[in-house]
Symmetry: C2
Subunit: 460 residues, 2 copies
């Protein structure tokens, strides 16, 4: 794949689309698989999502279960749920059976109770029980990210037993990739971990307990940010997960933690724009429209509240109509400055570099930037207003208002996400509307009240 000649992607693309559509229309399972199998999963998923919803269902019904499972796993959560819901319970169970237990639990947890039960009833009873257990854990915790299968041995086992297990390589062995063998006592508590080097240098008859070292464990409720820290600090590819009683309940891989962090980061920007619960353009129009509209409607109400400040000063506006030119500018520029502060705080939160308790420190840092940038932007817009309208006092009003409002905007933008976090709200969802409303109101008020005060100088 890496050594192929560059080819005309767009052309191949159109051709592929037509052929895929043709194969779906003909209900030709082999042809569909032959078209999608050679593609990277993200390309195959794109092709499938570009089909009409009914054709998509047909593809997922006809593909080999393993490839269908790959597509489901590649799809973002909300999309994956949508795709599974549209399948028959039997087919869904068949596809889900191909996935790791953590992915199974994520999917099942998102489904309606009824759909979930129907699918679980068609799965292997043991697997279904495992999924029911995993579903109980919060998404972004070790419990929600682990697989239920841990590569464990009793402390009474020998080195030879582990090596035989390596070598026999039953199908499930794949799932342990990257895990070290965990050693548990009779109660099921992890008491040790053995290294590959230890296994290779020890006699086959040696007890595991003689070569093991104490294990690093995480609890089912350890949150994602802490898990990222632990994997940053330790080179392990996986860790044993214990419950509140200290019993081994699963294994957490480094890549599951990485994937969860990536998904979270990719979702933040959608949430900041008020799209909660994911959106892909292949979703039904009604859902996409509704998800965006919920936040926009709330926002328009806040906008109306902010605009009422302008309404209160209609007389001032009527007297100095030029101010109307600058009102949207002050509101937009303050919003931009405030959103920069929001973005920096959101990033520092994601990196664990700032906490709600740091609000005061953040405010001082933001206010400093606000003063400098406020002065710079205020002077710029002030001079423009002065020259444009040939009135230095107008320039002063607009420039001063923007300067002050920039300080307000960055203060709010920097601190609001921290306060939302402290009260347990998702800062990504609510920061934007709160910020814009307050800075709009403050901006309008500053411009118009300053203008009222200086009215005799502005009207000539």
């Amino acid at each position: 794949m890496a050594q192929g000649e560059p080819i005309d992607l767009a052309e191949r693309q159109d051709d592929l689309e037509d052929r895929l559509k043709g194969a779906v229309d003909a209900g030709d399972a082999n042809a569909i698989a032959a078209l999608l199998e050679p593609l990277p999963l993200s390309d195959a998923l794109r092709e499938v999502l570009n089909l009409a919803a009914g054709d998509r269902d047909a593809v997922l019904s006809l593909l080999p279960a393993e490839l269908a499972a790959g597509l489901i796993e590649e799809a973002p959560n909300a999309m994956a749920t949508d795709l599974v819901e549209r399948l028959s319970a039997a087919r869904a169970a068949e596809i889900i059976d191909e996935l790791d237990s953590d992915v199974q639990a994520d999917l099942i947890g998102e489904l309606d109770r009824e759909d979930a039960d129907a699918i679980l009833a068609r799965m292997d009873a043991g697997d279904a029980a495992e999924v029911r257990r995993l579903v109980e854990y919060d998404d972004d915790t070790a419990g929600g990210l682990m697989v239920a299968e841990a590569f464990s041995f009793p402390d009474s086992a020998t080195v030879g037993a582990v090596l035989r297990d390596f070598v026999s390589g039953d199908e499930d062995f794949e799932r342990y990739r990257g895990q070290h063998p965990y050693i548990v006592d009779v109660d099921g508590r992890p008491v040790g971990v053995v290294s590959l080097r230890g296994l290779l240098t020890a006699r086959r008859g040696a007890l595991l307990s003689s070569i093991m070292v104490p294990p690093l464990t995480v609890r089912t409720d350890t949150p994602l940010l802490e898990l990222q820290d632990i994997f940053d600090e330790h080179p392990f590819l996986g860790l044993p997960v214990v419950d509140a009683q200290g019993l081994l309940v699963g294994a957490l891989s480094r890549s599951a933690v990485d994937a969860a962090a990536l998904e979270q980061a990719e979702g933040v920007n959608l949430k900041l724009q008020g799209i909660v619960g994911d959106e892909l353009r292949s979703m039904p129009l009604g859902i996409r429209s509704r998800r965006r509209l919920a936040w926009l409607s709330a926002n328009i109400v806040l906008n109306i509240i902010a605009a009422s400040v302008i309404a209160a000063y209609e007389e001032t506006l009527a007297a100095v109509i030029a101010i109307a030119i600058f009102l949207p500018m002050v509101s937009d520029m303050s919003g931009c400055s405030g959103n920069q502060a929001v973005a920096v705080t959101m990033r520092e939160l994601a990196l664990g570099l700032v906490r709600p308790a740091d609000a005061l420190r953040v405010w001082v840092k933001e206010a400093s930037v606000g003063v400098i940038n406020g002065l710079a932007l205020g002077c710029l817009i002030g001079v423009v207003a002065w020259i444009w309208k040939e009135n230095a006092w107008l320039g002063l009003v607009i420039g001063l208002a923007l300067a002050l409002n920039t300080v307000i905007a960055v203060s709010i933008g920097g601190v609001v996400p921290l306060m939302l976090k402290r009260i347990g709200q998702d800062p990504a969802v609510a920061s934007g509307p709160l910020l814009t409303t307050i800075t709009d109101m403050a901006g309008f008020f500053l411009v118009l009240s300053l203008a009222s005060l200086m009215m005799p100088l502005l009207v000539r």
Copy 2:
């Protein structure tokens, strides 16, 4: 760590800060290490970044090189560069020596030529040569993400040689974690890879060439998105990287790819707000202010252009002053709708689900949402304007303008990032300002030109 009782973080925090400051003032290297060593790296980094710049330098000079290296690696790129630049070349070389070669290259590549040469001159000659080679590769390609050290053996070697290497465990062995042993021919071309199972079941005297399977390789110029695809599809923890001649030049780990994807996702939101090149609040005020201001100044010029539309209609405004209340509202709401479309496109780009060639398809999808949401929001604001100002025609003007402008905003928001990508620009940096300027101009024009047309009905 996972089983500790909850403690009062804020209190511990203040105490820790004071003690760290005290240890730094006393120049007590042991005390500093004792305070920072037990913390998760992200917490330790936060503590260090909270110090004044001079104290930060002191901490990095006094800490054991390994811990200092951990902090440098934990810090986002721009911050890491800043921290290293402030150290003496000798100390910087000592710390950098503790890092993997891919991280070394990232750091050295960001430094001034002069600083970089000074540090390289103080590093081991072989390591320095390796870094000079790695620096040449683009950041988000296999070459930029790989480590130069591959776990490779000649095809003439035996199984026993590999097992001895596992067991002898020299210091460098850590670096190969997760890699399978790659087998190269006499020219240095990877010709095979052997599994752990293969190694354990074969006779010690067997040639590696007798148990190897053909390797999956990537080229140094394979881009990040494609690498993510490859690791999604294959369970491997690492892959051999070859140059244009097919020679083995390094090894790429799954976690390096994951980390690069995460860093990219976390940077997008900063870029969308016009903060190019990273920002952490611990950076010097001047840099933070300048980085934000560059984009804000460009934005204010665009705002002035948009506002000139209002200026052209001053007479209309003077006649129906109530319109001034609704202008910022139309501009803000359209901006929000457009930014939602930008966010969805940016996410689909990151997931590889959309490409520049899909612009038409994206436009159709966006326009559909735009029509629905435009009608909904237009009706809402229209009714508000009607009731507030007791003028149905005013409601019609404002509502119609917002409805039309919503369609324009989502169309632009959805498609602009794709067009920027096509012409090789970073869509995250330029999408926002382009979107806002065009939707502001269109919004102002729609409101004011509709009002001009219907002037007799509006003025009563």
